[in-house]
Amino acid sequence: MERNTFSYKLRQILMFAGPGTILFFCVVIVPFIYGLYLTFTSWDGVSANKPFVGFANYAAAFSDSAYWIALGRTAIYSIFAVVFINILAFALAYLVTSGVKGQNFFRAGFFVPNLIGGIVLGYVWKFVFNRAYVAIASAITGAPATSPLATTGGAMFCLIFVSVWQYAGYMMLIYVAGFMSVSDSLKEAAMIDGCTPSQAMRNVTIPLMRSSFVQCIFLSITRCFVVYDVNLSLTKGEPFNTSVMAAMHVYNTAFTYKNYGMGQAEALILFIVCAIVGVTQVMIGKKGEVEA
């Protein structure tokens, strides 16, 4: 069979990439374009008619102070969560590749939180903060303790804490792969050349693991920016709507307050912000990648 013809190549592409492309088109591209169209309407989410309003939704979104506060809050939450997730994940990965006893057990153990859905996780931790913590703290101090979820700063702390706990194990796996990909001979060579173990780590292992960092930071940033499930089940935006993250605000605007078009416009802004942050970070990270 002639393998260099156009039709042959086309058939090959259709066969291998076709199903995926069609699916991607149907479940991502089409809804995205339809969503884009809805941002130009004042649809309430229920009605049969979708009046066209031009850019009014974008104007409303830009002047919706609650949305920008939520977005700023999400940025702060993401910064803290991303930093701590990655520090902890890296430390755990180092620990479970350094040859401690039962390291496979630990790897599995640290990964487990990631297998629990965000909603369940939120309820479990809510119980821990609201009841267990309060009971223990009251017993220790002798005075009635306040649940951290009931205070403004406390609720944010809890969200960050739970996210770190949830994602650190997952990112750990990527770092573990990174550690294993650096061959021992390179580290040995560095040691023979007079490096201390920490110097070898800093100058040999970490630069070679750069792609793991890029991946982990990208994954954690994008996940943190669109956090919704933990937000919903752990704090529900309380107290006083001070823990409403951007995604929750978008949901409320679109469905609870029945401003579908405006919610959709805000979702688009969130998507653009998230994409810019994620792509910039990957570009910066990729630049300095080295190979052994």
Binding site: V46, A48, N130, V134, A145, A150
Partner: protein, 431 residues
């Protein structure tokens, strides 16, 4: 075994696995009832009261046995309007839809069938009409007030509790002090949920006056000074007293609804602001009896003293879009009539579900203690009507402000200013 046979076997197994996985995925999503059109020859009902879903299905079965008309009852955990929106988007709406009063003004206004000619209309004061057409069939009456547990109070004071004896805030406070002295350290529970504080408690400020509509309109225009408003101050004075005796006073925002309901059911808490729907929660615990409802005690004595706030709740409308045939619409109408006139329907509402029937001809006793109390107020004409035209984000935005006030994070002046500023900032709801 030959290599090619192995391969074939592997392929077969893989495809089975995939089909199975897909079937499993499909099964997971069926709770929303994508088979709404499957009631061939019959009609479909959307139920938005989760706690009566089992009973409702049993009723549908009974109805089919009696009349031969197939009925299917669906429930969804989604927000009601969001769920119905997806059904309309897929051109597969339910024939009969149970929604909240607010939704009648939006959904039923657009899709609902005019039921003005139905016999039951004359039998109730709680149907909703929009533009002269009766669109909403009330399934029950719900009212808000202070829930009490007379048994719990009696245990401390040693006397029978008569709710009618509490007519002022001062009298209420005296009883609370007596309870504290008797050993019930914190006789009050306050729900911190924004819908309870915002849409139920604060809402009374608009509702307990002669012309709520005019008051809300002047709020929109920014003409109201709440700090000078008698009703606002009177209700907030009561709220201050509730706060002072709150069992979660140390951390009111961490209060959990189920613990409060449990306390109320078991008599360790004497009072909580709520509504007759709370009984569904209370009876899950070791309920000791004695629950009832009384008006929110205020020192301001006016036309609303001695009344609960409430009215019809959970309304049915019949879909009149082109997706539902006239035949199905008629079936739904027949069903609603059956629900009002037949013994089975009456028993279902009042006894099986413990709801307060909004129909005068329903003489079956309500099986639920809070419902009984509401029924007494309703029969005596002592219900202040609901105001149903708040902006959609009202409960959330002002609920958060009420939470701040509950947690002593703001003064009454600041709360009043926040409420006034909110109303000035929103677009008036057309109705």
């Amino acid at each position: 075994m030959k290599k090619s046979t192995m391969k074939k076997l592997l392929v077969a197994m893989l495809s089975f696995a995939m089909i199975f996985a897909m079937a499993a995925c499909g099964g997971g999503g069926s709770d929303s009832g994508d088979a709404a059109s499957s009631a061939d020859g019959g009609f479909t009902i959307f139920n938005s009261k989760m706690e009566i879903q089992d009973q409702f299905e049993a009723l549908a079965k009974q109805y089919t046995e009696e009349t031969g008309v197939p009925v299917e009852v669906y429930y969804s955990q989604d927000t009601v309007s969001a769920h119905l929106a997806t059904k309309y988007a897929s051109k597969d709406p339910y024939t009969l839809n149970m929604v909240d009063a607010k939704d009648i003004y939006s959904l039923a206004k657009e899709y609902g069938v005019d039921m003005s000619d139905q016999d039951w209309v004359a039998d109730t004061d709680y149907a909703i009409s929009v533009d002269g057409k009766v669109l909403g069939f009330p399934s029950s009456i719900e009212a808000r007030g202070i829930i009490y547990n007379a048994e719990g109070i009696k245990k401390i004071t040693g006397k029978d509790f008569d709710p009618a004896s509490i007519t002022t805030l001062d009298g209420f406070k005296a009883l609370l002090d007596e309870l504290v002295k008797g050993g019930m350290e914190a006789p009050v529970a306050i729900m911190k949920e924004d819908w309870s504080l915002g849409a139920h408690y604060l809402q009374q400020v608009y509702e307990e006056r002669e012309d709520p509509e005019a008051f809300v309109q002047s709020l929109y225009k920014g003409e109201v000074d709440l700090m000078k408003d008698e009703k606002f101050n009177s209700l907030m004075d009561t709220f201050d007293v509730l706060k002072a005796y709150n069992k979660d006073k140390a951390s009111p925002i961490a209060a959990e609804r189920d613990l409060s309901e449990q306390g109320l059911a078991e008599g360790t808490v004497a009072f909580m602001f709520g509504g007759n729907w709370d009984f569904a929660e209370m009876k899950k615990y070791d309920y000791i009896g004695g629950a009832g409802m009384m008006p929110v005690p205020q020192n301001l004595q006016d036309d609303y003293t001695g009344k609960l706030v409430g009215g019809g709740s959970k309304f049915f409308y019949i879909d009149g879009s082109e997706n539902t045939s006239a035949e199905k619409q008629q079936m739904a109408k027949d069903f609603l009539n059956w629900l009002v006139t037949s013994d089975a329907g009456k028993t279902f509402i009042s006894d099986t579900c413990g709801m307060v029937s909004p129909f005068k001809s329903n003489d079956v006793a309500c099986s639920d203690d809070l419902g009984k109390a509401v029924k007494t107020f309703a029969d005596a004409g002592n219900l202040v009507p609901n105001y149903d035209y708040d902006p959609d984000d009202h409960y959330s935005v002002l609920g958060a402000e009420m939470q701040k006030y509950l947690a002593d994070q703001c003064t009454r002046e600041e709360l009043a200013t926040a409420i006034q500023n909110y109303w000035k900032s929103v677009t008036p709801v057309e109705h």
